[in-house]
Amino acid sequence: MLIRTPKLSELKENQLTAQSVYSNRRNILKGLGYLGAGALLTGNKANAFNLFGTADKSPFKTRDLSFSQLTSEIDKQILTPDQKVISHNNFYEFGTGKSDPVEASQNFKVDPWTLKIDGLVEEPITLGYEDLYKAFDLEERIYRLRCVEAWSMVVPWIGFPLQKLLQKARPLSSAKYVAFETLYDPKQMPGQKSRFSGGGIDYPYVEGLRLDEASHPLTLMSVGLYGKTLPPQNGAPIRLVVPWKYGFKSIKSVVSIRLTDKMPPTTWNRLAPSEYGFYANVNPQVDHPRWSQGSERLITTGNLFNRNRVATKMFNGYEEVAPLYKDMDLTRYI
């Protein structure tokens, strides 16, 4: 079981890269003029060809959270430094480049927020912004996040098990699936404005789980990371984290959780059904049609010479979920 507590103090400080360095990275590339023609179409126009750097916009304010650190053996895994966790994101609502989200999302409004839990439940629930942090006890969980692009990170999330929320809503016996939806707000999310900047995706982003997957104790609704509330690029104010599935299942900035009796549509599956299945369980035996899933690059500290290619594990190492799929051929149900 990988629900562990790290000695945060041991790993944190020395792994940080100075903020100024990170902020400057994009300008280096811009200066080189090799961003490609897409830079003309995407992102904020004001920045695209500014060789002299932009004044740092005031970053999104996060605040400290109080949460319980589960007592267990110290995790020997190295955490991904927080500056990397919050600057390397796939969140196409804010642009398709890895550093687009951190640049385009800092003015994202999370308060007020409304998260609705409805559909086939006895007791529909509406959570406001403050409820997200108070309705349930928060705990820290260190999970590996494995992206379908064959890189991974180790992230100390803070949140509560989705199971607790579902129990409160009391699903009807007819409920079989859980459908999630990200906020749709093109004014705040530039990627939702046009097909050019949003990666050709039909927004809002939707995801789904089987009810038994959603009720598994590992399935987390996260409201924070590294001891603080989530920054927008990581899915503020609340997101899903399903550690045994590829990262795109872990939907960000969730506004709706709906229980249904039919398998809900999911965004990447709709876009390319042969490449992204509904289940999307991490599986080294089943390659993506265009690249191998047998190994991954674990993003931790260090530069280019860091030997960080590691073997990918079945269910991303979370073997305890195997019973959920015991009679299923996982090479067919991808």
Binding site: V21, L32, T80, S87, H88, W151, W291, S295, I299, N308
Partner: protein, 205 residues
């Protein structure tokens, strides 16, 4: 009418060396110093890949521009542009092996044969390598008319590079499509020359 002379071309070449070599040096310096964001490997691969494509397109832009603007001297910068396209492609491939696959040779072999986009990328590199190796004046003289035939392979490379790019992106095909349109345009302006060459070859057969 203004004509570019040898001095102008020399200046252009100096500019080209600065514009092509310095960014590459700076890129690797930043990557080694861990100043390229969370995943320097991805940045390097994208930068060298798109850079190689840009340079390849530029090198193919030279002769139509030289012809239409009647600037014969301009043709002299075609060779360095092509060589830089090759250099970028080589760094792209070497970085893929060294930093992405991290010298897992078995994985490299299986990826090259199993994945269409890697496969066409590899073919592109092979073509550019042949073109680079046969690019000197003395070899050009030795090969005579065969040289042109060999160097017409660049149009095949244009096709494979386009496919490589198109197939490698996860979603959002706008940018690859723009590149492909530009590649088609560059082929189209040579339509007469290329069909003439093909006809001549067919007659011989």
């Amino acid at each position: 009418m203004f004509r570019l002379n040898k001095n102008h071309i020399l200046l252009l070449k100096v500019f080209l060396h600065c514009a092509a070599f310095l960014p590459l040096a700076r890129l690797y310096y930043c990557a080694f110093a861990d100043k390229l964001g969370a995943d320097p490997v991805q940045v390097i691969l994208h930068f060298t890949g798109i850079g190689a494509f840009n340079l390849l397109l530029l090198s193919l832009l030279v002769s139509p521009v030289a012809k239409n603007l009647r600037q014969g001297q301009l043709i002299n910068i075609r060779r360095p542009l092509g060589l830089y396209a090759f250099t970028y492609a080589l760094f792209h491939f070497l970085s893929y092996i060294a930093f992405d696959l991290q010298f897992e040779w078995q994985l490299l072999i299986s990826e090259i044969f199993k994945r269409p986009y890697i496969y066409v990328g590899f073919i592109s590199l092979l073509i550019l390598t042949v073109l680079a190796l046969t690019s000197t004046k003395s070899i050009q003289r030795k090969l005579g008319s065969t040289w042109q035939k060999i160097h017409n392979w660049v149009y095949l490379a244009l096709l494979t590079v386009s496919l490589h790019y198109f197939w490698s992106v996860k979603s959002g095909l706008i940018q690859p499509i723009m590149y492909i349109c530009f590649a088609l345009l560059l082929t189209f302006v040579r339509y007469k020359k290329l069909t003439k060459n093909l006809k001549r070859q067919n007659q011989r057969i």
